[in-house]
């Protein structure tokens, strides 16, 4: 405890110590150790409380002041963009390269000396670029370069901080500016999940030659969240050359990538991928098998029906349910008897329900009526559940 006193004596200015603390020093030293400990805790806690109150007030006031400053700047920037870009007299008649942009007025009016000013302008320009297509977007892109805002984005990309890198990637991808593919490819395998995801999205958007090249190097997990994000990017990027995703079903050892490619195969209706998907029916992982079965069902692969039914007996429940669902999608009518048997035989509710759905999907009214009349009460209830148009699942 004496050490604490020594330390405090060094920190606190001597006049203050001599006047306010020294008179109590001998009293403090005479106290038992636990009281001295308590006194130190009290002083520290009170100091912390006062510090936190001050911090709260200062940060909140600073936040409001910053908000106010940025709102004002944003309004000015928006007014300039509307006047000199959106309402440019030549925007309808000339090509974007021929339009003269008054970047001097932007510099003069907005200053653009400070980093925050540049950042707010970047945000505003990104917003307009996202919401406008065609010539306006191209003119905005030119203005972005003329104001040298791209330099700031490139600098962010070279930063050692991952969140700055992401910010840079975001800006360059949104403004459709060139980023060396090597740089992006390196980031697509980053250990930082957020950075990896953003780099993969940017690679798909910006790569001129092979936007899916990073799939070849994907060795780690592609988590469901990353899959959702990439799916959104792939399905909403205009002008993207879509490859045959069956390629990665053949060559990649990555289970997550296989699952992701199966989703893309369904989305882009890649019927030529059916043979590759059928090969996955022998995959060791039940999750991959179930996904492959679902894919075959959604592609209505009639050729796969026989194999699916042959496989049925040896599969776990998830795959059995997937097979029944696939048969319901394919609806060839070849396996109505099999579906009926499964519906009447299975003790598992999920299997029974999926068999009932598949039977209904075939549209054989006579069979359904017969089952409603003769099936045991428990099975009848399941069938009625599936027949009710108000019940979705």
């Amino acid at each position: 405890m004496n050490n604490v006193v020594d330390v405090l004596q060094h920190i606190i200015p001597y006049p203050f110590w001599a006047r306010y603390i020294a008179p109590y020093q001998s009293w403090f030293e005479a106290q038992p150790p636990f009281i001295r400990f308590a006194l130190v805790v009290i002083v520290l806690a009170l100091a912390a409380i006062l510090f936190m109150y001050a911090l709260l007030i200062i940060t909140r006031l600073h936040y409001h002041w910053k908000q106010h400053r940025e709102t004002q700047f944003r309004q000015k920037a928006e007014a300039l963009i509307i006047e000199h870009v959106m309402l440019h007299p030549d925007i309808e008649t000339r090509s974007p390269e021929q339009i003269t942009l008054p970047d001097g007025i932007f510099r003069q009016t907005l200053g653009l000396q400070r980093r925050w000013q540049k950042q707010v302008l970047i945000d505003v320009m990104m917003y307009y670029h996202k919401n406008f297509a065609g010539k306006t977007a191209q003119v905005l892109r030119r203005l972005y370069i003329q104001l040298r805002l791209d330099k700031l984005s490139y600098r962010k990309l070279r930063s050692w901080r991952w969140n700055r890198k992401i910010q840079g990637l975001h800006e360059l991808a949104e403004m459709q500016l060139q980023v060396p593919e090597v740089t992006m490819l390196e980031l697509t395998t980053s250990r930082n999940r957020v950075l990896r995801m953003e780099a993969q999205a940017a690679y798909i958007r910006l790569s001129k030659n092979e936007p899916f090249k990073f799939f070849d190097h994907l060795t780690g997990r592609l988590l469901p969240w990353e899959q959702l994000f990439l799916f959104e990017v792939i399905t909403h990027t205009q002008g993207l050359t879509i490859p045959s995703f069956s390629r990665w079903l053949h060559y990649s050892e990555n289970t997550d990538l296989k699952l992701f490619c199966l989703k893309l195969i369904v989305h882009f209706n890649q019927f030529n991928a059916i043979p590759a998907v059928m090969k996955l029916l022998e995959h060791r992982d039940a999750q991959v098998r179930a996904a492959a079965i679902d894919t075959l069902g959604q592609l209505e692969a009639v050729d796969a029906e026989d194999q699916l039914v042959q496989l049925y007996v040896d599969q776990p429940i998830t795959c059995q349910v997937a097979i029944l669902r696939a048969l319901g999608h394919i609806r060839s009518g070849q396996y109505l008897h099999f579906l009926r048997e499964e519906f009447l035989r299975s003790q598992d509710y999920a299997v029974r329900k999926e068999a009932a759905r598949a039977l209904i999907a075939h549209g054989d009214e006579e069979l359904i009526q017969s089952l409603l009349q003769h099936a045991p009460e428990e099975r009848k209830r399941t069938l009625e559940h599936c027949l009710d148009p108000l019940i979705k699942y």
């Binding site: 009290i42 936040y63 009710d388």
Partner: protein, 492 residues
Amino acid sequence: MLLNFTISHLWHQLQSLYEGFIFYYAAAIMSLYVILAIFSALAIRQFKRRNSFVDYKSILNSPHAPGISVIAPAYNEGATIIDNVHSLLTLNYAKFEVIIVNDGSTDDTLEKLIREFELVPVKFDYQERIVTRPVKRVFRSTNPAYSKLIVVDKENGKSKADASNAGINVASYPLFLCTDVDCIIEKNTLLHMVKPFLEEKIRVIAVGATIRIANSCEVDQGVLLRVIPPKKLLPRFQELEYIRSFLLGRMAWSQMNGLIIVSGGLGLFDKEIVINAGGYDHTSFAEDMEMITRMRRYMEENKLPYRVRYIPNSQCWTEGPATLKVFSKQRTRWARGLIQCLHVHRRVIGNPKYGIMGLLTYPYMVLFEWMAPFLELTGLIFYLVSGLSGTINWTHALILLLYVYSFSVAITTIAVLWDQLTFKYYDSVWQVMGLCLMAIVEPILYHPLNVFFSIRGNYFYFTGKKLAWGNMSRQGFARRQAAPVQPSEASS
């Protein structure tokens, strides 16, 4: 003479032993709070940084996002049920259903629902995977605008747990969100809460989020218009307590994967694990903590890796008890639930088989959550006896009181600071400062109440006195006719 001397000597011995124990106990609890505050700060910082680039549009639009069943039990909620269901139906998510379980209401809850949402009974094949009181009918709407709505009408089970279990049995999706029908849920709650399920390498079995007190907030038709700290004293203290407990406590436990409470007001769960663990226990008074414990036990006993996660965003606003009578009922029930849960799962305490829950969380719950009120009571008695017998050193006594008090105020202020630095739900700095100042009187006015009701809950448990679940009488929210503003927008 000798006898007197011996008694006096013994009393002094006992006194110094007790003083020493209490001092070290207080030091231990304070150190733990400091550790929790550090863990929580790290977790919130990490959360904020990782989520600053998230575009939730990818889940919102994706056909591959996991489906979520929103389960909200309702018992005699006729006054507010229509607004609340409308509010639940407008949640932002691609694939979800809303299951309202009418738990044998004696008012017009069901009739109002049928009329407003054009409900008709359907031939629903009810599978009782968790045993509940009988389900009478299941309703769906004939209006496509309400196609996401399912209403289950069941016999009263005298507990929220039984109604929730019936909802789980009806749920069609792999995840379910358990909430109270009168909670105001933020529009993007499902998007925010599903994320941990999708981004972890290890299976996430439950996710919780921060709940706040809505008593003085402006609400219109089940939609939160403006976040205002409670004006009345009791709800204001509860707001402070919620911020501290959710942001400091639960966030830190989540970081250590030791979280055992996901509030009944708002929790997203893996349905398969919940069913395998047996669903909610309808006999429990702390069914939320009890179920997480059982889910964790199931995972540990089957040697399955798992996580229980918590997100610091405030996703749900609920009306806290505004009168002492209602508050006493709630806190007595919570205290009784805690001891009940600790007793039922006593084998977990200190058992390495249950990992961090057995070695850290449960011992913490016993030592610092359950035991603390008793020690405070003995402390008070000790003070009185020492004071009366003239053996008290008043200077030391006051220093020790100030020691505990100043630390308590500092910890609460840290929690408010964290909340305000990261999320800024309140408009003005003065609202925040007003809340901070409450931390100064909280240990004097509010804490003794909690201690009293905790002891009362334990007394009820040990004497086997009956305690009904009952319905919390509500006072309603301030209403304002204006364009809805989401809390996230309000905060930005």
